[in-house]
Protein backbone atom coordinates (compact mmCIF):
# COMPACT_ATOMS: atom_id res chain seq x y z
CA UNK A 1 0.00 0.00 0.00
CA UNK A 2 1.34 3.38 -0.95
CA UNK A 3 0.75 7.05 -0.47
CA UNK A 4 -1.43 8.64 -3.11
CA UNK A 5 1.00 11.23 -4.51
CA UNK A 6 -1.74 13.80 -5.10
CA UNK A 7 -2.85 13.85 -1.46
CA UNK A 8 -0.98 15.36 1.47
CA UNK A 9 0.57 12.80 3.82
CA UNK A 10 -1.79 13.79 6.61
CA UNK A 11 -5.00 15.72 6.26
CA UNK A 12 -7.42 16.22 9.12
CA UNK A 13 -10.56 18.35 9.01
CA UNK A 14 -12.77 19.42 11.92
CA UNK A 15 -11.56 16.70 14.27
CA UNK A 16 -13.52 16.46 17.50
CA UNK A 17 -12.98 14.26 20.49
CA UNK A 18 -14.38 14.36 24.01
CA UNK A 19 -13.94 12.06 26.95
CA UNK A 20 -17.29 12.28 28.70
CA UNK A 21 -18.02 15.96 29.30
CA UNK A 22 -14.43 16.95 28.72
CA UNK A 23 -13.87 18.32 25.20
CA UNK A 24 -10.27 17.54 24.29
CA UNK A 25 -10.24 18.34 20.55
CA UNK A 26 -12.69 20.98 19.42
CA UNK A 27 -12.48 21.13 15.63
CA UNK A 28 -8.82 20.64 14.72
CA UNK A 29 -7.64 21.12 11.11
CA UNK A 30 -4.19 19.94 10.05
CA UNK A 31 -2.38 19.38 6.78
CA UNK A 32 1.08 17.86 6.55
CA UNK A 33 2.83 17.76 3.20
CA UNK A 34 4.67 14.62 2.22
CA UNK A 35 8.32 14.47 3.27
CA UNK A 36 8.11 17.36 5.75
CA UNK A 37 8.42 17.60 9.52
CA UNK A 38 5.30 18.91 11.19
CA UNK A 39 5.28 19.78 14.86
CA UNK A 40 2.23 19.99 17.08
CA UNK A 41 3.19 22.27 19.94
CA UNK A 42 1.27 22.49 23.16
CA UNK A 43 1.55 22.28 26.93
CA UNK A 44 0.78 19.20 28.97
CA UNK A 45 -2.88 18.25 28.61
CA UNK A 46 -3.44 20.22 25.39
CA UNK A 47 -4.59 17.11 23.50
CA UNK A 48 -1.42 16.26 21.56
CA UNK A 49 -1.40 12.59 22.48
CA UNK A 50 -5.11 12.34 21.76
CA UNK A 51 -4.48 13.75 18.27
CA UNK A 52 -1.64 11.28 17.67
CA UNK A 53 -3.80 8.39 18.86
CA UNK A 54 -6.56 9.39 16.46
CA UNK A 55 -4.23 9.83 13.48
CA UNK A 56 -2.53 6.50 14.19
CA UNK A 57 -5.86 4.56 14.36
CA UNK A 58 -5.60 3.83 18.09
CA UNK A 59 -8.80 5.63 18.98
CA UNK A 60 -11.68 6.93 16.90
CA UNK A 61 -12.53 10.62 16.64
CA UNK A 62 -16.08 11.66 17.49
CA UNK A 63 -16.26 13.63 14.25
CA UNK A 64 -14.06 14.83 11.42
CA UNK A 65 -12.51 13.70 8.18
CA UNK A 66 -9.05 12.22 8.72
CA UNK A 67 -6.79 10.89 6.01
CA UNK A 68 -3.29 9.52 6.27
CA UNK A 69 -1.56 8.81 2.97
CA UNK A 70 -4.94 9.44 1.35
CA UNK A 71 -6.62 6.65 3.33
CA UNK A 72 -9.50 7.33 5.70
CA UNK A 73 -8.46 6.26 9.21
CA UNK A 74 -11.99 5.23 10.15
CA UNK A 75 -12.94 3.41 6.94
CA UNK A 76 -9.60 1.81 6.13
CA UNK A 77 -7.42 1.62 9.24
CA UNK A 78 -5.53 -1.35 7.79
CA UNK A 79 -4.21 0.72 4.86
CA UNK A 80 -3.16 3.48 7.26
CA UNK A 81 -1.40 1.03 9.57
CA UNK A 82 0.58 -0.36 6.66
CA UNK A 83 2.03 3.12 6.05
CA UNK A 84 2.74 4.46 9.50
CA UNK A 85 5.12 3.94 12.36
CA UNK A 86 4.33 5.21 15.84
CA UNK A 87 6.59 6.00 18.76
CA UNK A 88 4.23 6.93 21.54
CA UNK A 89 4.83 9.17 24.52
CA UNK A 90 5.29 6.14 26.75
CA UNK A 91 7.70 3.35 26.05
CA UNK A 92 6.23 0.66 23.77
CA UNK A 93 8.84 -2.05 24.03
CA UNK A 94 8.64 -5.60 25.35
CA UNK A 95 10.38 -5.41 28.72
CA UNK A 96 10.84 -9.17 28.96
CA UNK A 97 12.95 -9.37 25.80
CA UNK A 98 16.38 -8.09 24.76
CA UNK A 99 16.77 -5.14 22.42
CA UNK A 100 17.60 -7.42 19.54
CA UNK A 101 14.63 -9.69 20.25
CA UNK A 102 12.35 -6.64 20.26
CA UNK A 103 13.60 -5.71 16.80
CA UNK A 104 13.29 -9.33 15.65
CA UNK A 105 9.67 -9.29 16.81
CA UNK A 106 9.03 -6.24 14.63
CA UNK A 107 10.85 -7.79 11.66
CA UNK A 108 8.72 -10.93 11.96
CA UNK A 109 5.51 -8.94 12.23
CA UNK A 110 6.51 -7.07 9.07
CA UNK A 111 7.18 -10.43 7.38
CA UNK A 112 10.67 -9.36 6.38
CA UNK A 113 11.98 -12.89 6.19
CA UNK A 114 15.05 -14.28 7.92
CA UNK A 115 17.89 -12.77 5.96
CA UNK A 116 16.37 -9.36 5.22
CA UNK A 117 15.23 -9.16 8.83
CA UNK A 118 18.70 -9.92 10.16
CA UNK A 119 20.26 -7.24 7.95
CA UNK A 120 17.68 -4.63 8.91
CA UNK A 121 18.15 -5.37 12.62
CA UNK A 122 21.94 -5.14 12.43
CA UNK A 123 21.66 -1.89 10.49
CA UNK A 124 19.25 -0.32 13.01
CA UNK A 125 21.28 -1.46 16.03
CA UNK A 126 24.33 0.13 14.45
CA UNK A 127 22.56 3.36 13.49
CA UNK A 128 21.03 3.81 16.95
CA UNK A 129 24.24 2.94 18.75
CA UNK A 130 22.68 -0.11 20.40
CA UNK A 131 24.93 -2.86 19.04
CA UNK A 132 26.71 -3.26 22.38
CA UNK A 133 23.44 -3.55 24.29
CA UNK A 134 21.66 -5.71 21.72
CA UNK A 135 21.72 -8.86 23.86
CA UNK A 136 20.86 -7.07 27.10
CA UNK A 137 17.39 -7.27 28.63
CA UNK A 138 15.40 -4.04 28.63
CA UNK A 139 15.60 -3.31 32.37
CA UNK A 140 19.35 -2.74 31.84
CA UNK A 141 18.66 0.08 29.33
CA UNK A 142 18.90 3.78 30.19
CA UNK A 143 16.08 6.16 29.33
CA UNK A 144 17.86 7.36 26.21
CA UNK A 145 18.64 3.83 25.00
CA UNK A 146 15.04 2.83 25.55
CA UNK A 147 13.81 5.79 23.48
CA UNK A 148 16.25 4.93 20.69
CA UNK A 149 15.15 1.29 20.69
CA UNK A 150 11.54 2.44 20.64
CA UNK A 151 12.22 4.52 17.54
CA UNK A 152 14.31 1.77 15.95
CA UNK A 153 11.36 -0.62 16.38
CA UNK A 154 9.14 1.92 14.65
CA UNK A 155 11.52 2.05 11.70
CA UNK A 156 11.86 -1.70 11.07
CA UNK A 157 9.01 -1.66 8.55
CA UNK A 158 10.29 1.44 6.71
CA UNK A 159 7.17 3.52 7.40
CA UNK A 160 6.37 6.43 5.07
CA UNK A 161 4.77 8.47 7.87
CA UNK A 162 6.12 8.53 11.41
CA UNK A 163 4.39 9.80 14.54
CA UNK A 164 6.63 10.82 17.40
CA UNK A 165 4.84 11.82 20.58
CA UNK A 166 7.15 13.95 22.73
CA UNK A 167 10.24 12.03 21.60
CA UNK A 168 12.67 13.95 23.80
CA UNK A 169 10.68 14.64 26.96
CA UNK A 170 12.69 13.42 29.93
CA UNK A 171 15.92 13.00 27.98
CA UNK A 172 19.19 14.64 28.98
CA UNK A 173 20.49 17.35 26.62
CA UNK A 174 22.94 15.01 24.89
CA UNK A 175 20.36 12.30 24.18
CA UNK A 176 18.04 15.03 22.97
CA UNK A 177 20.64 16.21 20.43
CA UNK A 178 21.14 12.63 19.26
CA UNK A 179 17.39 12.21 18.82
CA UNK A 180 17.17 15.46 16.84
CA UNK A 181 19.94 14.26 14.57
CA UNK A 182 18.12 10.99 13.93
CA UNK A 183 14.86 12.81 13.18
CA UNK A 184 16.61 15.10 10.70
CA UNK A 185 18.16 12.11 8.94
CA UNK A 186 14.77 10.46 8.64
CA UNK A 187 13.30 13.58 7.10
CA UNK A 188 16.13 13.82 4.62
CA UNK A 189 15.28 10.27 3.54
CA UNK A 190 11.86 11.58 2.54
CA UNK A 191 9.86 10.28 5.51
CA UNK A 192 6.96 12.44 6.68
CA UNK A 193 7.23 13.18 10.40
CA UNK A 194 4.47 14.27 12.75
CA UNK A 195 6.06 15.31 15.99
CA UNK A 196 4.54 16.62 19.18
CA UNK A 197 6.49 18.64 21.67
CA UNK A 198 6.21 20.98 24.62
CA UNK A 199 9.39 22.79 23.61
CA UNK A 200 9.38 25.72 21.22
CA UNK A 201 13.10 25.20 20.77
CA UNK A 202 12.53 21.66 19.54
CA UNK A 203 9.85 22.69 17.05
CA UNK A 204 12.16 25.47 15.88
CA UNK A 205 15.10 23.09 15.44
CA UNK A 206 13.23 20.43 13.53
CA UNK A 207 9.96 21.45 12.03
CA UNK A 208 9.07 22.79 8.60
CA UNK A 209 5.70 23.81 9.99
CA UNK A 210 4.39 24.24 13.51
CA UNK A 211 0.84 24.29 14.83
CA UNK A 212 0.05 25.46 18.34
CA UNK A 213 -2.70 23.52 20.13
CA UNK A 214 -4.59 25.16 22.95
CA UNK A 215 -7.89 24.18 24.54
CA UNK A 216 -8.56 21.73 21.73
CA UNK A 217 -8.06 24.24 18.93
CA UNK A 218 -5.19 25.21 16.66
CA UNK A 219 -4.46 28.81 17.69
CA UNK A 220 -1.50 29.45 15.42
CA UNK A 221 0.08 27.74 12.45
CA UNK A 222 3.04 28.46 10.23
CA UNK A 223 6.76 28.03 9.78
CA UNK A 224 8.85 28.43 12.93
CA UNK A 225 10.08 31.79 11.60
CA UNK A 226 6.53 33.03 11.03
CA UNK A 227 5.56 31.92 14.48
CA UNK A 228 8.53 33.52 16.16
CA UNK A 229 7.83 36.79 14.39
CA UNK A 230 4.55 36.89 16.24
CA UNK A 231 6.23 36.41 19.59
CA UNK A 232 7.41 39.50 21.41
CA UNK A 233 8.94 37.35 24.15
CA UNK A 234 12.48 37.23 22.74
CA UNK A 235 14.58 40.12 23.96
CA UNK A 236 17.95 41.37 25.03
CA UNK A 237 18.17 42.73 28.54
CA UNK A 238 20.76 45.36 29.44
CA UNK A 239 21.60 46.29 33.00
CA UNK A 240 22.98 49.78 33.71
CA UNK A 241 24.77 51.23 36.69
CA UNK A 242 23.42 54.81 36.28
CA UNK A 243 19.91 56.11 35.56
CA UNK A 244 21.47 58.57 33.09
CA UNK A 245 23.00 55.75 31.07
CA UNK A 246 19.66 53.96 30.99
CA UNK A 247 17.86 57.07 29.75
CA UNK A 248 20.50 57.75 27.11
CA UNK A 249 20.37 54.18 25.83
CA UNK A 250 16.57 54.14 25.82
CA UNK A 251 16.61 57.28 23.71
CA UNK A 252 18.90 55.75 21.12
CA UNK A 253 17.38 52.35 20.56
CA UNK A 254 13.93 52.06 18.99
CA UNK A 255 11.26 49.90 20.70
CA UNK A 256 13.35 49.59 23.85
CA UNK A 257 11.44 49.61 27.10
CA UNK A 258 13.28 50.95 30.15
CA UNK A 259 12.60 49.92 33.74
CA UNK A 260 13.71 52.87 35.87
CA UNK A 261 13.61 51.05 39.20
CA UNK A 262 15.71 48.11 38.10
CA UNK A 263 17.88 50.17 35.71
CA UNK A 264 17.13 47.59 33.04
CA UNK A 265 16.46 48.09 29.37
CA UNK A 266 14.56 45.46 27.35
CA UNK A 267 15.15 45.37 23.60
CA UNK A 268 12.99 43.11 21.48
CA UNK A 269 14.99 40.77 19.27
CA UNK A 270 15.99 37.24 18.58
CA UNK A 271 19.32 37.42 20.39
CA UNK A 272 21.40 36.76 17.29
CA UNK A 273 25.06 37.72 17.44
CA UNK A 274 24.57 40.31 14.70
CA UNK A 275 21.82 42.10 16.58
CA UNK A 276 23.80 42.00 19.83
CA UNK A 277 26.84 43.42 18.14
CA UNK A 278 24.82 46.20 16.55
CA UNK A 279 23.33 47.26 19.89
CA UNK A 280 26.63 47.09 21.75
CA UNK A 281 28.50 48.97 19.00
CA UNK A 282 25.91 51.74 19.06
CA UNK A 283 26.16 52.08 22.82
CA UNK A 284 29.94 51.94 22.67
CA UNK A 285 30.06 54.73 20.09
CA UNK A 286 27.91 56.84 22.40
CA UNK A 287 30.21 55.99 25.36
CA UNK A 288 27.42 54.42 27.35
CA UNK A 289 28.56 51.75 29.82
CA UNK A 290 26.59 48.53 30.13
CA UNK A 291 27.02 46.58 33.38
CA UNK A 292 25.50 43.31 32.31
CA UNK A 293 23.79 41.75 29.33
CA UNK A 294 21.44 38.78 29.09
CA UNK A 295 19.51 37.21 26.24
CA UNK A 296 16.03 35.85 26.73
CA UNK A 297 14.92 33.48 23.97
CA UNK A 298 11.21 32.95 23.58
CA UNK A 299 9.78 29.76 25.03
CA UNK A 300 6.42 28.05 25.02
CA UNK A 301 5.08 30.54 27.56
CA UNK A 302 5.91 33.41 25.23
CA UNK A 303 4.22 31.67 22.30
CA UNK A 304 1.14 31.13 24.37
CA UNK A 305 1.07 34.60 25.65
CA UNK A 306 1.43 35.95 22.15
CA UNK A 307 -1.20 33.81 20.46
CA UNK A 308 -3.71 33.21 23.23
CA UNK A 309 -3.18 36.01 25.73
CA UNK A 310 -2.72 33.55 28.55
CA UNK A 311 0.19 31.53 29.85
CA UNK A 312 0.73 27.89 28.93
CA UNK A 313 0.70 26.74 32.52
CA UNK A 314 -2.61 28.48 33.26
CA UNK A 315 -4.12 26.83 30.23
CA UNK A 316 -3.53 23.37 31.60
CA UNK A 317 -4.35 23.91 35.25
CA UNK A 318 -8.09 23.11 35.15
CA UNK A 319 -7.57 20.14 32.83
CA UNK A 320 -4.83 18.73 34.98
CA UNK A 321 -7.06 18.97 38.01
CA UNK A 322 -9.77 17.08 36.21
CA UNK A 323 -7.28 14.43 35.24
CA UNK A 324 -6.26 14.05 38.86
CA UNK A 325 -9.82 13.78 40.09
CA UNK A 326 -10.60 10.81 37.86
Amino acid sequence: MTINPAAPAICARAVRKSFGEHIVLDGVDLTVAEGTIFSLLGPNGAGKTTMVRILSTLIAADAGDIRVGGHDVAADPGAVRALIGVTGQFSAVDNLLTGEENLRLMADLHHLGREAGRRRIAELLERFDLTGAARKLLPAYSGGMRRRLDLAMTLVGNPAVIFLDEPTTGLDPRSRRTMWQIIRELASDGVTIFLTTQYLEEADELADRVAVLDHGRIVAEGTPAELKRRIPGGHIQLQFAEPDALQAAAGMIPNASPDDDQLVLQIPGDGSVASLRRVLDELDDAHIDVEHLSVHSPDLDDVFFAVTGHAATEATAPQEQEALQR
Binding site: T49, S56, T57, L58, I59, A60, G78, R81, A82, I84, G85, V86, G88, Q89, F90, S91, A92, V93, D94, N95, L96, L97, E101, L105, D108, L109, H110, H111, M153, T154, G157
Partner: protein
Protein backbone atom coordinates in the same frame (compact mmCIF):
# COMPACT_ATOMS: atom_id res chain seq x y z
CA UNK B 1 0.89 -14.46 1.18
CA UNK B 2 -2.84 -14.67 1.68
CA UNK B 3 -4.50 -12.99 4.63
CA UNK B 4 -4.94 -16.39 6.27
CA UNK B 5 -1.22 -17.05 5.86
CA UNK B 6 -0.51 -13.66 7.48
CA UNK B 7 -2.80 -14.44 10.38
CA UNK B 8 -1.02 -17.74 10.85
CA UNK B 9 2.45 -16.19 10.60
CA UNK B 10 1.58 -13.38 13.02
CA UNK B 11 0.07 -15.80 15.53
CA UNK B 12 3.20 -17.94 15.31
CA UNK B 13 5.34 -14.85 15.94
CA UNK B 14 3.27 -13.95 19.00
CA UNK B 15 3.45 -17.56 20.18
CA UNK B 16 7.26 -17.48 19.94
CA UNK B 17 7.24 -14.26 21.95
CA UNK B 18 5.13 -15.82 24.71
CA UNK B 19 7.25 -18.96 24.85
CA UNK B 20 10.37 -16.78 25.10
CA UNK B 21 8.78 -15.01 28.07
CA UNK B 22 7.98 -18.34 29.74
CA UNK B 23 11.46 -19.73 29.23
CA UNK B 24 13.16 -16.57 30.38
CA UNK B 25 11.02 -16.26 33.49
CA UNK B 26 10.28 -19.88 34.46
CA UNK B 27 9.21 -18.90 38.00
CA UNK B 28 5.58 -18.41 36.90
CA UNK B 29 5.47 -21.85 35.28
CA UNK B 30 7.03 -23.41 38.38
CA UNK B 31 4.54 -21.62 40.60
CA UNK B 32 1.67 -22.94 38.49
CA UNK B 33 3.07 -26.48 38.79
CA UNK B 34 3.72 -26.08 42.50
CA UNK B 35 0.10 -25.70 43.55
CA UNK B 36 -1.21 -29.05 42.20
CA UNK B 37 1.90 -30.88 43.38
CA UNK B 38 1.47 -29.53 46.90
CA UNK B 39 -2.19 -30.57 46.81
CA UNK B 40 -1.24 -34.03 45.55
CA UNK B 41 1.26 -34.62 48.35
CA UNK B 42 -1.03 -33.09 50.96
CA UNK B 43 -4.07 -35.12 49.99
CA UNK B 44 -2.22 -38.39 49.54
CA UNK B 45 0.06 -38.29 52.56
CA UNK B 46 -1.97 -36.28 55.08
CA UNK B 47 -5.59 -37.12 54.28
CA UNK B 48 -5.07 -40.12 51.98
CA UNK B 49 -4.94 -42.89 54.58
CA UNK B 50 -8.26 -41.88 56.09
CA UNK B 51 -9.98 -40.87 52.85
CA UNK B 52 -8.91 -44.07 51.08
CA UNK B 53 -10.54 -46.23 53.74
CA UNK B 54 -13.80 -44.43 53.11
CA UNK B 55 -13.77 -45.08 49.36
CA UNK B 56 -16.20 -47.81 48.41
CA UNK B 57 -15.37 -49.97 45.41
CA UNK B 58 -11.90 -48.52 44.80
CA UNK B 59 -9.50 -51.43 45.40
CA UNK B 60 -8.45 -52.49 48.86
CA UNK B 61 -8.72 -49.04 50.39
CA UNK B 62 -6.05 -47.03 52.15
CA UNK B 63 -3.54 -44.51 50.82
CA UNK B 64 -2.82 -46.39 47.57
CA UNK B 65 -6.49 -46.49 46.67
CA UNK B 66 -6.85 -42.79 47.38
CA UNK B 67 -3.86 -41.96 45.19
CA UNK B 68 -5.55 -43.82 42.33
CA UNK B 69 -8.77 -41.94 43.04
CA UNK B 70 -7.34 -38.43 43.41
CA UNK B 71 -4.93 -38.14 40.46
CA UNK B 72 -7.65 -37.20 37.92
CA UNK B 73 -8.80 -34.54 40.39
CA UNK B 74 -5.24 -33.25 40.71
CA UNK B 75 -4.94 -33.14 36.92
CA UNK B 76 -7.91 -30.79 36.63
CA UNK B 77 -6.55 -28.66 39.48
CA UNK B 78 -3.41 -28.45 37.34
CA UNK B 79 -5.40 -27.27 34.34
CA UNK B 80 -7.29 -24.71 36.43
CA UNK B 81 -4.12 -23.47 38.10
CA UNK B 82 -2.22 -23.19 34.82
CA UNK B 83 -5.08 -21.14 33.36
CA UNK B 84 -4.39 -18.52 36.05
CA UNK B 85 -1.13 -17.81 34.26
CA UNK B 86 -3.02 -16.72 31.15
CA UNK B 87 -4.94 -14.02 32.99
CA UNK B 88 -1.70 -12.70 34.48
CA UNK B 89 0.25 -12.67 31.22
CA UNK B 90 -2.64 -11.18 29.21
CA UNK B 91 -3.23 -8.46 31.80
CA UNK B 92 0.43 -7.52 32.05
CA UNK B 93 0.56 -7.29 28.27
CA UNK B 94 -2.54 -5.08 28.12
CA UNK B 95 -1.29 -2.72 30.82
CA UNK B 96 2.16 -2.45 29.21
CA UNK B 97 3.06 -0.13 26.35
CA UNK B 98 3.79 -2.61 23.58
CA UNK B 99 0.15 -3.47 22.98
CA UNK B 100 -0.41 0.03 21.57
CA UNK B 101 2.43 -0.56 19.17
CA UNK B 102 0.81 -3.79 17.99
CA UNK B 103 -2.49 -1.95 17.49
CA UNK B 104 -0.89 0.58 15.16
CA UNK B 105 0.69 -2.15 13.03
CA UNK B 106 -0.90 -3.97 10.12
CA UNK B 107 -1.04 -7.29 11.94
CA UNK B 108 -3.89 -9.69 12.42
CA UNK B 109 -6.07 -8.57 15.34
CA UNK B 110 -6.45 -12.09 16.64
CA UNK B 111 -2.70 -12.80 16.68
CA UNK B 112 -1.96 -11.29 20.10
CA UNK B 113 -4.64 -13.31 21.87
CA UNK B 114 -3.98 -16.47 19.87
CA UNK B 115 -0.30 -16.27 20.83
CA UNK B 116 -1.22 -16.05 24.51
CA UNK B 117 -3.75 -18.87 24.37
CA UNK B 118 -1.60 -21.35 22.45
CA UNK B 119 1.41 -20.41 24.59
CA UNK B 120 -0.60 -21.10 27.75
CA UNK B 121 -1.87 -24.37 26.32
CA UNK B 122 1.69 -25.58 25.72
CA UNK B 123 2.67 -24.38 29.18
CA UNK B 124 -0.27 -26.29 30.68
CA UNK B 125 0.72 -29.48 28.86
CA UNK B 126 4.29 -29.12 30.17
CA UNK B 127 3.00 -28.64 33.70
CA UNK B 128 0.70 -31.67 33.30
CA UNK B 129 3.69 -33.81 32.29
CA UNK B 130 5.45 -32.67 35.46
CA UNK B 131 2.46 -33.46 37.66
CA UNK B 132 1.90 -36.89 36.07
CA UNK B 133 5.61 -37.56 36.60
CA UNK B 134 5.35 -36.79 40.31
CA UNK B 135 2.19 -38.95 40.57
CA UNK B 136 3.99 -41.88 38.96
CA UNK B 137 6.98 -41.34 41.22
CA UNK B 138 4.87 -41.64 44.35
CA UNK B 139 3.19 -44.81 43.17
CA UNK B 140 0.31 -43.92 40.83
CA UNK B 141 -0.26 -46.98 38.62
CA UNK B 142 -2.84 -46.33 35.91
CA UNK B 143 -4.05 -49.29 33.86
CA UNK B 144 -4.63 -47.28 30.71
CA UNK B 145 -3.81 -48.28 27.14
CA UNK B 146 -1.96 -45.92 24.85
CA UNK B 147 -5.27 -45.05 23.21
CA UNK B 148 -6.79 -44.25 26.60
CA UNK B 149 -3.85 -42.00 27.41
CA UNK B 150 -4.29 -40.24 24.11
CA UNK B 151 -7.98 -39.73 24.79
CA UNK B 152 -7.18 -38.44 28.30
CA UNK B 153 -4.70 -35.92 26.90
CA UNK B 154 -7.35 -34.85 24.39
CA UNK B 155 -9.96 -34.31 27.12
CA UNK B 156 -7.50 -32.39 29.29
CA UNK B 157 -6.27 -30.27 26.38
CA UNK B 158 -9.80 -29.36 25.31
CA UNK B 159 -10.79 -28.46 28.85
CA UNK B 160 -7.56 -26.49 29.31
CA UNK B 161 -8.28 -24.64 26.05
CA UNK B 162 -11.69 -23.63 27.42
CA UNK B 163 -10.37 -22.45 30.80
CA UNK B 164 -7.50 -20.59 29.13
CA UNK B 165 -9.87 -18.58 26.92
CA UNK B 166 -11.97 -17.86 30.00
CA UNK B 167 -8.88 -16.76 31.88
CA UNK B 168 -7.74 -14.64 28.92
CA UNK B 169 -11.11 -12.87 28.98
CA UNK B 170 -10.79 -12.33 32.74
CA UNK B 171 -7.29 -10.94 32.17
CA UNK B 172 -8.67 -8.52 29.57
CA UNK B 173 -11.52 -7.48 31.85
CA UNK B 174 -9.15 -6.77 34.76
CA UNK B 175 -8.00 -3.19 35.33
CA UNK B 176 -4.65 -4.29 36.74
CA UNK B 177 -2.35 -7.30 36.87
CA UNK B 178 -3.24 -7.60 40.57
CA UNK B 179 -6.93 -8.07 39.84
CA UNK B 180 -6.13 -10.39 36.98
CA UNK B 181 -4.22 -12.71 39.29
CA UNK B 182 -7.15 -12.81 41.73
CA UNK B 183 -10.34 -13.07 39.68
CA UNK B 184 -9.69 -16.52 38.15
CA UNK B 185 -8.95 -17.96 41.64
CA UNK B 186 -12.45 -19.47 41.78
CA UNK B 187 -11.32 -21.83 39.03
CA UNK B 188 -8.89 -23.55 41.41
CA UNK B 189 -11.68 -23.93 43.97
CA UNK B 190 -14.20 -25.63 41.68
CA UNK B 191 -12.29 -28.96 41.48
CA UNK B 192 -12.80 -29.33 45.24
CA UNK B 193 -16.53 -28.91 44.79
CA UNK B 194 -16.56 -31.74 42.24
CA UNK B 195 -15.89 -35.48 42.26
CA UNK B 196 -12.17 -34.69 42.09
CA UNK B 197 -11.30 -35.34 45.73
CA UNK B 198 -14.20 -37.26 47.23
CA UNK B 199 -17.18 -38.96 45.56
CA UNK B 200 -20.12 -36.57 45.21
CA UNK B 201 -22.37 -39.14 46.89
CA UNK B 202 -20.69 -38.32 50.23
CA UNK B 203 -21.68 -34.63 50.03
CA UNK B 204 -24.78 -33.11 51.61
CA UNK B 205 -27.76 -32.38 49.35
CA UNK B 206 -27.46 -29.01 47.62
CA UNK B 207 -23.69 -29.19 47.48
CA UNK B 208 -24.08 -32.60 45.89
CA UNK B 209 -26.37 -31.29 43.15
CA UNK B 210 -23.93 -28.45 42.49
CA UNK B 211 -21.00 -30.87 42.33
CA UNK B 212 -22.81 -33.20 39.98
CA UNK B 213 -23.77 -30.48 37.54
CA UNK B 214 -20.63 -28.32 37.46
CA UNK B 215 -18.23 -28.90 34.55
CA UNK B 216 -15.29 -30.22 36.58
CA UNK B 217 -17.14 -33.40 37.58
CA UNK B 218 -17.78 -34.84 34.10
CA UNK B 219 -14.20 -34.01 33.09
CA UNK B 220 -12.83 -35.74 36.20
CA UNK B 221 -15.07 -38.77 35.73
CA UNK B 222 -14.04 -39.08 32.08
CA UNK B 223 -10.36 -38.97 33.03
CA UNK B 224 -10.90 -41.44 35.83
CA UNK B 225 -12.65 -43.83 33.47
CA UNK B 226 -9.89 -43.51 30.89
CA UNK B 227 -6.92 -43.83 33.25
CA UNK B 228 -7.95 -46.14 36.08
CA UNK B 229 -11.10 -47.87 34.85
CA UNK B 230 -14.71 -47.28 35.80
CA UNK B 231 -17.69 -46.37 33.72
CA UNK B 232 -17.59 -43.16 31.69
CA UNK B 233 -21.20 -43.22 30.50
CA UNK B 234 -22.47 -39.80 29.43
CA UNK B 235 -19.67 -37.99 31.27
CA UNK B 236 -17.46 -37.80 28.16
CA UNK B 237 -20.05 -36.10 25.99
CA UNK B 238 -21.04 -33.72 28.81
CA UNK B 239 -17.36 -32.89 29.39
CA UNK B 240 -16.88 -32.11 25.72
CA UNK B 241 -20.02 -30.00 25.54
CA UNK B 242 -18.98 -27.99 28.59
CA UNK B 243 -15.48 -27.47 27.17
CA UNK B 244 -16.70 -26.35 23.77
CA UNK B 245 -19.37 -24.13 25.33
CA UNK B 246 -16.96 -22.41 27.74
CA UNK B 247 -14.33 -22.00 25.03
CA UNK B 248 -16.77 -20.46 22.56
CA UNK B 249 -18.43 -18.08 25.03
CA UNK B 250 -15.08 -17.00 26.49
CA UNK B 251 -13.56 -16.53 23.04
CA UNK B 252 -16.38 -14.22 21.97
CA UNK B 253 -16.18 -12.32 25.25
CA UNK B 254 -12.38 -11.99 25.02
CA UNK B 255 -12.45 -10.71 21.44
CA UNK B 256 -15.11 -8.17 22.36
CA UNK B 257 -13.09 -6.94 25.33
CA UNK B 258 -9.94 -6.78 23.20
CA UNK B 259 -11.58 -4.68 20.51
CA UNK B 260 -13.35 -2.41 22.95
CA UNK B 261 -10.31 -1.78 25.12
CA UNK B 262 -8.80 0.49 22.49
CA UNK B 263 -11.33 3.23 23.14
CA UNK B 264 -10.94 3.28 26.89
CA UNK B 265 -7.24 3.42 27.69
CA UNK B 266 -5.86 6.84 28.61
CA UNK B 267 -2.62 8.10 27.06
Amino acid sequence: MTSFAYTFADSATMLRRNIKHQLRYPSLTLMLAGLPIVFLLLFVYVFGGQLGTGLAGHGTGGRGAYLTYVVPGILIVTVASAALGTAISVASDMTGGIIDRFRTMAISRAAVLTGHVIGSLLQTLAVLVLVVGVSLAIGFRPDASALNWLAAVGVLALFAFALIWLSAALGLAAKSVETASNTPMFLTLLPFLSSGFVPTATMPAGLRQFAEYEPFTPVTQTLRGLLTGGSIGTHAIVAILWSVGIALASYLWAVRLYNRRRAASPN
